[in-house]
Structures are given as C-alpha cells and as structure tokens.
Amino acid sequence: MKKLWSLRACLPVALMATFLSVLVGCGGGTGGNSEANGKPGIPHKQFADAVHAVMMADRTVYAQHVVDRLKAQESVVKPDEYWHDEDGTIPLPAQMFRMGAELVSENEEAGFSYSLKSKWPLNEQNKANSDLEVAGLDYVTANPEENFYGEEELAGVNYYTAVYADVAVAGACSNCHNSHANRGDDYPEFKTGDVMGGVIIRIPMR
C-alpha cells in the first residue's frame, strides 16, 4: 500500500519537476540526490559534514549558553533526565539531540536521518545497531580526530553513512555516564577526552 501511495505521490512531483526545469531552465539539486534532474547536487560527504556542523553548533550553544548559564546563576532550573516529571528541569543535551532526531525522522521532506549512538548506551534506543555503525564507532574511537564514511544496505535501501566522534569534553560527561544506573556490566570507565559514542548521519542514495 505504501508503494502505491508513493507512486501516486511521485507522479505530480515528477510532472512538476519536469515543468519547472523546462520553464526555468535550471534546478540545482540539494542534499545528496544529484541524479534527480541531471544537475550536480551537494556530494553526500559534504552534506553530512554540513549538517553535522549545525548539530554540533546547536549542542554547544545549548550547553554553554543554557545549561552552563543556569548553573552559573545558581538557578533552581537544571537539566535532568526526568525533566518530564520533575518541576524546574529541562532536557539533557543528549535528550534534546535525540528528540530533534525523532522529529526529523517524522518529517518526510527531510530526506535523511541522524542519531547519537554508542556501543554502550544508557538508553537502549541509542545502541549502535548495524555492522557499519559499530565499525564506524570503532574507527572514530581509535582515530578521534577523523570521521568515518561508508555505504551500507538496509532492507534493500543503500545508505551513505557518516560517523563523527562524540568526545567527553568535560568531567561532567564521564561522571554522569559512569555513575548512571543503566550502565551495563561491560560499561567502560570513561574519562575526559574519551570517545563516548558518535553522531551518525545517514542519507539514502537513490
């Protein structure tokens, strides 16, 4: 049924695309989809690096100008994993990140997906799942200065997948994680500077 729907949805889109390109005579593709209209789009790697830059910038701003500022002002409001339930709390940066990723995953226009994962997740939902994710996380753990890029097939769809190291930049990262009740028996003792997981960006290649 889904197939049918997408075929039906594609028809007007395809017609419109043809119409527009004839009319305007140009149509620079965005995202990783460079074949759609024969014009060059942004290469997958460049797209992944770009959106990753935005994600990290947002996360840094949230940490520095929201979380740290509240702390500096000795505010009663603080980030808390159970922010749903506790008065005077706001989501943790990792939760902000995941909720954003979930919103993007519901947005059919977005055309890509992302996540913050680890081989040792506090939240099972963030567990590195595919072979490529595990390989990518292993790679960036061994080479924190580098990113990992690869291609994988999941249920018949080919993806361009990029993995970026997520490093314990402050003592708070490892302290909170190491003392969390959800840590499994094989949980590493993280310390500042360690790679705790990674941001994974996945673009379907059509």
């Binding site: 049924m1 159970y82 994710e133 999941l154 993806y159 840590r183 499994g184």
Partner: protein
C-alpha cells in the same frame, strides 16, 4: 412469455433487489442490515461506531492513514509513549520491524478479529516483548524467572504508558503508607459563590432574560436554575435557549460545547460520546455490552443525561447519574465501599472537600493542566485500560504507590469496588530498590 424470459426477469428483479440491498447497507449509516457486512465482531472499543465504516475505512475499505490517531493521538502523547512510532524510524531498526512493524497501530491492534482479540484490543500473543527484549534476563538477572507473557499482564510494565511504573518513579515512592496522611484530590475551580451571589430565592422571574411566559416552567425552571453554577456565573436562559424569535426549548450539545469545549471534546472521545464524534445518534445503554439497567435502556447519552437541565448538580452527576444506567458488579458494590462513605461525609459537610471518592473521582478524574488549572476529564475511558493509568491521575492523590499498584492488580478487589485490601502483591517497588542498591554497591567498589 417463454420459460427463459420468466427466469430472466426473476433473475433481473432479484439482482436489482440484491444490488439495492448492498448499496443501502453500505451507504446508510443507520441501515439495520449493515451488520451483515461486518467481516467479524468488532472489539469492545469500537463496536459502538462499527456501522460508520468511514470512521476508519477509506471508500475502497482500506484503513485510513490516521484512522487510529484521529481519536487516540492526544492520549498517546499525554502518556509519554514509551514505544512511540518515532522511536523506531531509525533505518537500523528495519530488521526488528520486519518481525513486527510497531509503527503501525494495526501491527498489534487489528479490528474485526474477535477470536484473536485480547484485553486492550491486543491481537497478538501477550509475549510480544520477547521480539526485542530477549536479552532482558542478562541485563536484569532479577527477571530470570519471569515469562515474557507476564511483562505487561502482571502490573509491572505497559507497552505505551509507563508513567507510574518506571524505575526512578518507583524508587521515589518506596515506603509510602497505604493511605497517605493528607489524602486530597485537586479541587475544581469553582466560582467564589459568596462574592457573586445574592439570595437566589429573592430573584424574580423577570430577571431571567429571554425565558418564555406562562408555562409550568415559569416556576419550576427558574427555581432549579437559581443557585446553579450558571446562575452564579450570570449565564441566563438566553445563553442556551436563544432569545425572542430564535428561542428554542431544546438545547443542543453545541450550546454546552460553546463554553465547555474541553469537557465536550473529552466527552466525545470516550464511550459515552464516541458515537456523536462519529456523526451517529448518541449512545443508549440498551446498546451497551456492559450490564445496564433495563429502565435506562433507551435514554440517549448527552450532556443532560448526567448534568440534567437547569440544576447542573455535579454531585448528582458524580454518582447517581452513573448508577441510573450502570448495573455491573463493580458499580453496584460502590455504595458498600469506604470510598462511598467518604463521599457521603464530604457531601454532608463532615469531611473536607476533595476527600470523598465518587464514581467520577476515578472515572472522570480531575486533571491539572500545565498552567495549573483543574478540569474534569470527561472521557471516562481515558484511564481505564491499562488500569495503571489511574495510578498517578487518581489513586496516588490518596494512597501510596505500592498499595495502589497492588489494588489495581487484584481483579476481584476491583469487582468489589475496593472493599477490603489487595490480596495480590506486585514487587515492582522492591525490585527497583534492589536494582538501584546493587548499582550503588558496584560503584563503591574500586
């Protein structure tokens, strides 16, 4: 006419009748014959609207894209859904989803399959947690002896709503007494009656703007209205009945909804009002699957059924209104319960407001919204299934969490409308405590 011609005409007539019959059954929502087209008995949750195929189906009898969410989305959002569809969109879940695509409600809740339908409209075996949580016994050794069909049936976990069952919450509510020291429900936001009221009995008929003259009602109706919440709020006859030429003796529910939209919106989401939501005639107790009183069989369920016209006595609406129809074991046991004794004390003024427990206390709970406003949830199904939904919204205003979990797990106690103490014990709180203690110990070791 030849034999063949006669046969042909008979065939033509019969075909015509059959065609008309099929078209009538399909297209007319009130067609008695429509039930013949049902592919199977509809579940408890939807049988009231089963004749309105278009509530869930497309014209080609597929399932509408948002058929379920149109009615259930708000409830799922509020429940902080542990397994919301969006949590499974990550492409690496594709293998898991191949077994059971839980992003579709119909993966677990199919309709018209009575032989497979279990509690809460579940249509897959109850050990479904197994599909993703096979390794739970490694991570939680305490779970070793538990069978997978007990995760969600023993009062420990729910698939969607775990607001009162997650570990941290359990830990925060250890050692609570069965009955809290200060049992108290949220109070409704009533107008300050003293401030706005003069002596209602001194009001004259001519103060009732727009009321018709010369009827019996001239005496009775204003008398009922006097002292009602509408009186105190300055809501006169015209607000509901219209004025002059546009006066109408019948007041539609839209009039109520004009001001009480939140109540109306929640009313039409529950079993009392869902037929109205679907554009059908209101529900009548005679059509219910639960035991109902014969005397009420044909009474249509509207705002007025519980609130009556003019008096709007919420105390009547909270108990007597329910018992005028409901005739099951639990309802009939209510008046023998301690909850009812407390309710009587409250209405006699011998106990503080918000300490008695009426039917409405649990089934039309007072909710406090984000802005701190109290309102009465009029979807009386909202917290019924799974019943652990009641823990935070209702039970825990007066009882400790452990006692509440145990009570809701004891079906025979529920049948007796909570006369007595729970005979079941769910060890969730103890398990959470031991889990956190073990983690703490491990941390201390170097």
């Amino acid at each position: 006419m030849s034999q063949t011609a006669i046969t042909f005409y008979i065939w033509l007539c019969l075909s015509g009748v059959a065609l008309w019959f099929a078209a009538y059954s399909m297209l007319d929502d009130n067609a008695v014959s429509k039930s013949l087209l049902l592919p199977g008995k509809t579940s408890h949750g939807h049988y009231q609207i089963e004749m309105k195929c278009s509530a869930c189906h497309t014209t080609s009898m597929g399932i509408k894209k948002d058929a379920c969410l149109d009615c259930h989305e708000a409830e799922l959002k509020l429940s902080n859904d542990t397994h919301a569809a969006k949590k499974f969109n990550d492409p690496t879940n594709v293998e898991r989803l191949a077994t059971l695509d839980v992003r579709e409600c119909t993966a677990c809740h199919r309709e018209h399959v009575p032989d497979q339908t279990r509690k809460m409209g579940l249509t897959i075996p109850t050990d479904y947690c197994f599909h993703c949580h096979q390794d739970v016994q490694e991570q939680r050794p305490s779970h070793r002896e538990f069978a997978f069909d007990s995760c969600s049936t023993a009062g420990c976990h729910n698939y969607h709503d775990n607001r009162a069952l997650y570990e941290k919450f359990l830990l925060q509510h250890t050692q609570e007494p069965d009955l809290l020291d200060d049992p108290q429900l949220p109070l409704r936001l009533l107008l300050d009656r003293k401030a706005t009221s003069d002596d209602p009995t001194s009001r004259r008929k001519d103060q009732l703007v727009g009321a018709p003259d010369g009827e019996d009602g001239e005496i009775k109706i204003p008398h009922d209205w006097h002292g009602s919440a509408h009186d105190f709020a300055g809501t006169t006859c015209a607000a509901c009945h219209g004025e002059g030429q546009s006066w109408s003796d019948n007041v539609s529910m839209d009039s109520c909804a004009n001001c009480h939209d939140r109540q109306f919106e929640s009313f039409i989401r529950g079993r009392h009002g869902m037929r109205i939501q679907a554009g059908l005639s209101p529900m009548v107790p005679g059509a219910a699957r639960l035991p109902m009183k014969q005397s009420a069989a044909h009474d249509q369920l509207t705002c007025m059924s519980c609130h009556t016209a003019h008096q709007y006595d919420t105390r009547r609406a909270a108990v007597d209104a329910c018992l005028q129809c409901h005739n099951d074991e639990h309802s009939l046991a209510y008046k023998r319960s301690a909850h009812y004794r407390g309710w009587q004390d409250e209405i006699r003024g011998e106990a503080a407001p918000g300490t008695g427990v009426s039917c409405a206390t649990c089934h039309l709970p007072r909710m406090v919204d984000e802005k701190g406003n109290t309102f009465v949830e009029h979807n009386q199904n909202d917290n019924l299934r799974p019943n652990e939904k009641m823990l935070r919204e209702v039970c825990m205003h007066c009882h400790g969490l452990g006692f509440s979990i145990d009570s809701l797990a004891d079906e025979s106690l529920i049948d007796r409308c909570f006369q007595g103490t729970p005979k079941k014990h769910v060890d969730s709180i103890g398990m959470a405590q031991r889990w956190f203690e073990a983690k703490q110990k491990k941390k201390k070791r170097p």
